[in-house]
């Protein structure tokens, strides 16, 4: 779905309007630094320590973009150390006992990560924190972990942690989930399902849906290449007309399919949409992130205008 690309675009959009952003990644590896022109192809992961991805965005050049990883093991070590339990912390992780504990209380890994995010939000480390969650299926489990744990662990610090995380998730002013999809049949179906599950099972606030990878339309795709060439006074090579026609036909067909799927998404899910262009340049670097970030800001402007006009979105 391009979840990490969209994460980068959201963080960059925030910095463009002067808000500092911290990106949190949870799987221990990410292409994010590369998207901001840092790291090498082989060495591009994030670490538990915060790393500056881009300095000084926005009107007064003060909005930094930073990023870090929060893994369950890392969050647990830190949690235990903060609670004066550093003596057992290393042992819990290295002995593999965390596996036992995590199985005994499912969701404990997730709550450790979310608990740390909540702590960062409270500490005000950045104006906005963008969390790149695990992929689709696991995202619901991930966000539902707080509720699940409240049932399993009735007392103690994990219970407190779960309670705080749930409070954060249910506070729509502090936290929103941005779902990302592609304008294709299966991703749209999955997104609609995920959206309803999240509202029903987690009670989390849903922000606009990001539809990623929309082919930009081009005027003139319907034109007959031979006639169009004549009109512009250029000569086509042998067979070139067929090639141009075939390529135009492919794009038109894909655009039609995409329009159909975007419409289907609108019909089935009453959430505003932010549509991001497909980038034929598949290597996402700082320039491409900027293009997407501007598309995010443009879309938000349109949505805001619609809200002010009171039109249904």
């Amino acid at each position: 779905m391009g979840k990490t690309v969209v994460t980068a675009a959201l963080a960059r959009a925030a910095s463009m309007v002067g808000r500092s952003a911290l990106v949190v990644e949870v799987e221990g590896k990410s292409g994010l630094p590369r998207m901001f022109g840092q790291g090498t192809p082989d060495q591009s992961g994030l670490s538990y320590d915060e790393q500056l991805l881009r300095r000084g965005g926005g009107p007064d050049a003060s909005a930094d973009i930073t990023a870090r990883t929060i893994t369950p093991d890392g969050a647990l070590l830190e949690y235990l150390e903060d609670h004066g339990l550093s003596r057992i912390s290393k042992r819990l992780v290295t002995s593999g006992a965390l596996d036992v504990v995590a199985t005994a209380a499912p969701g404990i890994r997730d709550i450790l990560v979310l608990g740390k995010v909540k702590q960062l939000q409270r500490a005000g480390v950045a104006d906005v924190i963008v969390l790149d969650t695990p992929a689709a299926g696991h995202a619901i489990t991930f966000l539902r972990s707080a509720k699940g744990l409240l049932d399993a662990v009735k007392v103690g610090p994990i219970n407190t942690q779960a309670r705080d995380v749930l409070e954060l998730l249910e506070d729509h002013e502090r936290c929103q989930v941005i779902l990302v999809t592609l304008p294709e049949e299966t991703p749209v179906n999955e997104l609609v399902e995920t959206a309803f599950s999240l509202e029903d099972q987690v009670g989390v606030g849903l922000g606009p849906v990001v539809v990623n990878g929309i082919y930009a339309d081009l005027d003139g795709l319907d034109a007959d290449p031979t006639a169009a060439a004549e009109q512009a006074g250029v000569t086509l090579r042998d067979g070139e007309a067929e090639i141009l026609a075939e390529a135009a036909d492919f794009r038109r067909h894909r655009i039609d399919l995409q329009v159909e799927q975007v419409q289907r998404l609108s019909d089935r899910l009453p959430l505003p949409q932010v549509r991001l262009p497909f980038l034929f340049e598949s290597e996402i670097g700082p320039d491409e992130v900027d293009v997407l970030a501007r598309a995010v800001l443009d879309a938000i402007e349109v949505l805001d205008a619609e809200v002010q006009l009171g039109s249904p979105t």
């Binding site: 819990l92 005994a104 499912p106 399993a152 794009r251």
Partner: protein, 360 residues
């Protein structure tokens, strides 16, 4: 040395494992491979990881269950489809190793046990392999094609059996359940402190459940371990072919490359690489030159037509660049490119379109 192509794998092998990241069309690809085998006269079954409703619809089935259902309309062989039910596969495995019904019931009823299939990472991967082994040993299907969980971390996949064995044989458990055995006496005080601290963080109930589970499980670890070893051997058998499925996006290629490296390290060669969702290449032109031409004709219809062509030339060349390293890594395994399809798969004819591309 003769390197088998995809068609030969489908005709000759007993087991094909499809691996790769999520969202690359792995499930559909697995189904098409099994369908191809059925058309070649074999009895084939495809095992998916989730209910795969869309695939069930396309196969004309009401839904997939953990027992194989036969698909009409393919032949002269047979095509069957089923899904992996992690929990029931695990239950069956426990039943196989339990000393008696009392032990089985104690385990199945334990709260900690009920969590394992959903919460212990790697369990789904392990059960996929277990189901595969069971089908290979206990049924007479000619070909078993198994879809695998979308694994970001290849190690999960390869390590799962060993990891579960380790887990079940956990030191913590032995220390907890055998407090007075001599060898452990020395570490016992420290362990008790450790366990008490863990209990303070997660609650004593949680620890009690875990201890009860490990007690109930006592004596079964050996059987589990032996089975896990056999499953691992089967994965490395010559009769098993591992097919890597990817898309040409840069990030999925990076994941697939990592996966291929880990498989090789684990002694499992990739026999074929299937790359879905490739952008079409309409000609051999270079994107940059075409772009310049489009720029010089800006504002005209022919300019737009060139710009469009340049877009696809760029996409296609980037995709080939992304692919190059991975293709080297899996060599001499053939690389099969499948273009973007015109629409989603809704029926057997849709699957046949993919088949035509896969075996072109």
């Amino acid at each position: 040395m003769n390197v088998p192509d995809l068609d030969e794998l489908v005709r000759d092998r007993r087991i094909i494992v499809c691996g790769g990241s999520g969202g690359v069309g792995k499930t559909t690809t697995a189904a098409v491979l099994a369908m191809r085998a059925a058309e070649a006269g074999r009895r084939a079954v495809v095992v998916t990881i989730d209910p795969a409703k869309r695939l069930a619809d396309a196969l004309g089935l009401d839904g997939l269950t953990d027992a194989p259902s036969q698909v009409d309309g393919t032949g002269p062989g047979e095509l069957w489809a089923m899904m992996l039910d992690t929990k029931s596969t695990f239950d069956a495995l426990v039943a196989k190793h339990a000393a008696d019904d009392a032990q089985l019931q104690r385990i199945l009823g334990n709260r900690f046990y009920k969590n394992i299939s959903g919460a212990l990472s790697g369990t789904q991967e392990y059960m996929a392999m277990e189901k595969l082994y069971e089908l290979a040993e206990e049924t007479d299907f000619d070909l078993i094609v198994v879809d695998t969980p979308p694994t970001r971390n290849a190690l999960d996949f390869l390590d799962a059996p060993a990891r579960l064995s380790r887990f079940l044989d956990h030191r913590l458990y032995r220390l907890l359940t055998a407090p007075n055995r001599g060898v452990f006496r020395a570490v016992n005080v420290a362990t008790q402190t450790f366990v008490r601290t863990v209990a303070r963080v997660v609650g004593a109930d949680v620890i009690d459940d875990a201890v009860a589970f490990f007690q109930a499980f006592d004596g079964m670890e050996e059987g589990f371990k032996r089975r896990a070893t056999r499953v691992q051997e089967r994965l490395r058998d010559d009769d098993t072919a591992f097919v890597l499925v990817a898309s040409p996006r840069r990030d999925t290629i990076a994941e697939a490359t990592f996966f291929a490296e880990k498989l090789t390290e684990g002694g499992i060669p990739v026999r074929s690489l299937i790359v879905n969702r490739m952008h079409p290449r309409f000609d051999d032109g270079l994107a940059e030159a075409t772009h310049q031409r489009a720029d010089s004709l800006e504002g005209t219809d022919i300019g737009s037509l060139y710009r469009n062509l340049a877009d696809f030339q760029l996409a296609a060349s980037r995709e080939e660049e992304n692919l190059a390293g991975l293709a080297d890594k899996v060599a001499p395994a053939p690389v099969v490119r499948v273009p973007f399809l015109r629409s989603d798969v809704h029926d057997l004819d849709g699957l046949r379109l993919i088949e035509a591309e896969l075996f072109a």
